[in-house]
């Protein structure tokens, strides 16, 4: 168990069977009475934030959250199957748990999967991902303006806006934190 004086930002604890990460921690002592620790906690499963006040003599249960590198194998539209690179165990993750990560998946991609009590709760993809354009209007050669955009679809099925000069079957780099086009790039090796 973790005592309140060890509470820190980014500490992961378990409450009512759900994993939380501490976003904010502060000690308070009303009057000359008992001390309390006010916390803001983010639920790692739902993403929602709650406030909780602990008495300073309370303890919290550490959440057994582990991150594993896993390879994306295939999907059936609702469930996405990944393989643990060390153990070769396979696990199916729902679209809901994947969240935005679903937009950037490609076969054999390596992602980081968070497990809570051996249940997958989230998937983290690299900040930048390279994907092939599968559908868009033909590129306009010589138009190097990056401020005029047109819609496009990449191999994962994700729709985004790209500059006019980008052509079908070209590869682009996407910032997964914003979901935006970054630049054109070469086809990555082995893809």
């Amino acid at each position: 168990m973790i005592k309140t004086d060890q509470f820190r930002k980014r500490l992961k604890i378990e409450i009512d069977g759900e994993p939380y990460v501490m976003v904010d921690v502060d000690f308070v002592r009303p009057g000359k009475g008992q001390g309390f620790v006010r916390t803001k906690l983010k639920n790692l499963m739902s993403g929602s934030t709650v406030e909780r006040t602990f008495k300073s003599n309370e303890t919290a249960k550490p959440a057994s959250v582990s991150d594993n590198d896993m390879q994306f194998l295939y999907d059936d539209g609702t469930e996405f199957t990944f393989m643990n690179m060390q153990t070769y165990d396979q696990v199916a993750i729902t679209r809901e748990t994947l969240g935005d990560a679903v937009n950037y998946l490609y076969e054999n991609m390596i992602v980081s999967v968070s497990f809570f009590n051996e249940m997958p709760i989230g998937v983290e993809v690299p900040n930048f991902v390279e994907l092939e354009i599968t559908e868009c209007e033909p590129g306009i050669k010589g138009n190097s303006a990056t401020n005029t955009m047109k819609p496009a679809i990449v191999s994962s099925g994700y729709r985004l806006n790209v500059p006019l000069f980008v052509d079908q079957n070209e590869w682009i780099r996407i910032d997964t934190r914003t979901g935006d086009y970054v630049e054109r790039c070469k086809r990555p090796e082995g893809r």
Binding site: D5, K32, G33, Q34, G35, F36, T53
Partner: protein, 403 residues
Amino acid sequence: MPEWIGTFKSRISIAAFFESGHGTVAGLLEWSNEGEAHLHDTSATLELAPEWVADLASDIRYWAAFHFGRDGTRRLYCRPIAARGETERHLRYRERYLRRWRIHQEIRRWFLNAGFLETDTPVRVPCPGMEPYLDTFAAGDRFLRTSPELHMKRLLAAGFDPIFQIAPCFRAGDKGTQHREEFLMLEWYRLFADLGHLVDDLGSLLTHLAPLSTDPEYFRRPPKIVRSVSLFREYLGLNLTDHTDPAPLRACLEHKGMSWDPEDDWDTLYFLLFLNFIEPKLGLDAPTIVTDYPASQAALAKKAPQRPGELPTCYRFELYVHGGIELANAFYELTDADEQRARFEADRAHRAALDKVVYACDEDFLAALAGGLPPAAGIALGVDRLTAALLGERALAPILPFG
């Protein structure tokens, strides 16, 4: 030590500080080795303006200060600036720290003008405060004080009146944005006075300090006074009539979607509700004084006569500012030596039950009460928190030069 640099090859830009009666003045100087330093820009004579300094920061390459000799000679001392950005950062912090110490000066000035005597009392004491939840540090065969109050009341009993002290105090384990293990406490005491006198003192002191604040208007407003039971009624719809039965507090916590433990006592449940649903709303538009604390939280305050059907209370108030920042705690002092001894013994038992160090009763203090302490009122105010609040900061860190 800065060194005297008198051999610049050409004209060079220098940042300079001047302490004038109106505050810090920063200027950009042009210096040539032929003669005097000249003010380069008329803005150099203006009050410190951070935006202006930021603009010039990249041009400023030296710190400088004038030294005025007793024979009337003037010398310029300077040192090179170590890194880019130092100018701006340095000026910002310098201004805050200067304000901090001016606030200390003005606090003293207010008390001296009001006829108070500044006292000092031991920092290492044999019997630190007995409050069950306050811990301190051992220092040799004594303890660092958590508050100077017992000694100040002994001075009061000896006839020194009115008295004040700005006292470094210590509380082990109190670390947070609003807490430090070492902090400055301002305490003052008046004989033949009640809480009303202290409310007047507070209002007058805050008004006196208002010109040093980033929000003078706020600190000039007369403090709002509100009873703790009214707050529970207003924000929680809870009518407190008793300080022993936890059931109504438990029900209220549940209603608010919060959990409680069976071993939580009445005061713990009270604070859980107070901290989460009341405190953040205190002092939003004017300094706010919360009065009539439950009798179970009397500490060293006299208990008020109980009115039938109402919550038993004590003569204690706290001052809040800026949405839940607690600045001060005041008592109409308990002067009955027997009741004081009984409360100390109860606190000792409580400390023992919590597995904490049990301090000896302060017999000298009890003897002073037994000898006869006239009616008196006293208050403790956190100077660092007040300084932060005056300068518009919620956390202590920005106004503490050494963290």
